[in-house]
Amino acid sequence: MSETAAHTTSRTAAGVAPPRVAVALGIVALALLILPLLGLTLRAPWTRAGELVTDPVVRQALQLSIMSSLAALAISVVLGVPLALVFARFDFPGKPFVRALAILPMVMPPVVGGVGLLAAFGRRGLVGRPLEGLTGITIPFTPAAVVISATFVAMPFLIVTVESGLRMVDRRLEDAAATLGADRWTILRRVVLPSLWPSLAAGMALCWARALGEFGATITFAGNMPGRTQTMPLAVYLELERNPEAAYLLSFALLAVSVAVLVALRERFLTAT
């Protein structure tokens, strides 16, 4: 038995155990991540859940959140998938720059995004001013603004996931399909999309979860009006000041959705490829 060799690892039945330092730090990390979730679960006023869930403010917020996040998802798919295709398959001058810009909302603080949306689509905005002048339509303070805010922050997630999925599609399969006589549309439909589906599904789930949780850009650009622009996250924020118990419950509801998304995506998220 070599006692001098490998004296910082120990053998367990399952194989070599990880170094103690890694385990200790890992426990701290887990605690940081899990304790808030645990706290929410334990503090949520389960006994009052029934009356809180039927509260009209809560129901309106829930309805608005679901409708707007699904709308944002739909727009993201329709606009984001073609863009991801362009990024994955084509080169053009300035591509790295353009691509970075398209992904920027993902890393930008959402409030900053909200201010940017105002600058573009607000009544004095780049697009908003001519829009109001010509059609009388204003975007802020409307459910449309909620959808735009959510799309702005969530679409990059879809683009990035789909783009990487497209890169993983074997181009040679497309070559094979071409030699067999399939035109470009058939190749897209029968070869590319079926291969792409797992990435697309993952991208959609991420996109939807992000849209559902959007707060900073929404409150800045769309404002806050129950029934019209007050989504669940906004309701939680304001409930926290008025009625902390309800806030815990609403938070838990949103948390449950996030966990569900993670569980559904576990294969894609938690494995290397």
Partner: protein, 364 residues
């Protein structure tokens, strides 16, 4: 070009391709013809341009200049500006890695070609079923490619290529990814179907056995140029390049010949039994079996003898290939029994003897 090329026939049936292209460091320039029903094997070292040639003929790779006709139909002509898409070319391709569509069943894979060309689903499937039967896979219709073995997958790939009724068949190293047993059975299958196929066939391979059993003609491609285009037996006897010689297992040298004397590049000389008129550059080949090994300097008739050291030994069944280092590097083939009798191992010193009559040479 000094290589023999199948003469063009008047009716231009089959494949007639002359093309040049550049891809990275590859500079490819070839002229190749294949008659209907003829199987042409394309061999060459890595990077020679074999796969690029195939892809160019399939329309998957743009060519710099050239003209390709198939059964009289011009499918590509750079001067006239014509170019047919892969879809329009009616070229069937069998890829090295099969490239079966992973989310479709074997049946759907084979039916893909006909369906893409507009054949109704029901008919396409019926046709596909027929082909699967012909490649011996009628039980595997509903299997996904992931569930098939290498050999089975290649059968499906063949069926898929043939089901779309191509005018030209291109096979890119169809056996190299298979294990020995699968290789044998798929080789037999290919033999059967290639014989039955009415159009021309180009088959890329790096296995001489494959080439010899399947092909009517061998084309040796090296560094983008065709160095030899001959029947297999001609190539086996008179390979035109060092690589080709290695492929068919012959010792190969460049030399200057004058009279009976061959002066190799290294400066060493050999004496041949046939004189060369006139003197000049020549290629020299010696079959490994013609190389005799002696424990000490032999007396008697052999005029080509020299001392050498054994560099390496390759043992296959009862034959041993002995790689020898010396004034003339050479490979000898002896029996395992002989090896044991002479107590030879790596590093042993021996005398090499080659009969003048066994030295083949011809003008380079």
């Amino acid at each position: 070009m000094s290589a023999t090329v199948t003469p063009a026939t008047a009716d231009m049936a089959g494949l007639d391709a002359e093309l040049a292209l550049r891809l990275g460091t590859l500079d490819l320039e070839v002229a190749i013809r294949a008659q209907p029903g003829e199987v042409v094997a394309i061999l060459g070292p890595n990077g020679a341009g074999k796969t690029s040639l195939l892809r160019a003929l399939a329309g998957l790779l743009p060519i710099g200049r050239g003209r390709v006709t198939l059964d009289g139909r011009v499918i590509e002509d750079t001067t006239a500006g014509t170019w047919c898409t892969p879809q329009q070319r009616a070229v069937g391709v069998m890829f090295q890695q099969q490239l079966l569509f992973p989310h479709l069943t074997a049946l759907e894979n084979v039916a893909f070609g006909p369906r893409s060309r507009g054949v109704p689903r029901h008919d396409a499937r019926r046709r596909a079923r027929g082909w699967l039967e012909r490649v011996g896979l009628d039980g595997a219709e509903t299997a996904r490619p992931g569930a098939l073995s290498g050999g089975q997958a290649q059968r499906v790939a063949l069926a898929r290529a043939l089901a779309s009724d191509p005018a030209l068949l291109l096979l890119d190293e169809p056996l190299s990814a298979l294990d020995v047993d699968a290789r044998r059975s798929v080789r037999q299958l290919l033999r059967h179907h290639l014989d039955a196929f009415t159009g021309p066939v180009l088959l890329i391979t790096h296995e001489p056995l494959e080439a010899i059993t399947l092909a009517d003609r061998l084309v040796i491609l090296e560094q983008g140029r065709i160095v030899q285009d001959d029947r297999p037996e001609v190539v086996a006897r008179r390979p035109r390049s060092a690589w080709a010689a290695r492929l068919v297992g012959l010792n190969h040298y460049h030399a200057q010949v004058e009279g009976y004397t061959l002066t190799l590049d290294s400066g060493a000389t050999l004496t041949a039994s046939a004189a060369a008129h006139p003197p000049g550059p020549a290629r020299v080949t010696i079959h490994p079996r013609a190389v005799a090994l002696h424990p000490s300097q032999p007396a008697g008739s052999p005029r080509n003898t020299w001392p050498a050291t054994i560099d390496a030994l390759d043992i296959h069944d009862d034959q041993v290939r002995v790689h020898l280092d010396g004034p003339i590097p050479i490979v000898a083939q002896i029996t395992a029994a002989a090896l044991a009798d002479l107590s030879l191992t790596e590093g042993s010193r021996v005398w090499v003897a080659v009969k003048a009559t066994e030295i083949d040479h011809w003008p380079a």
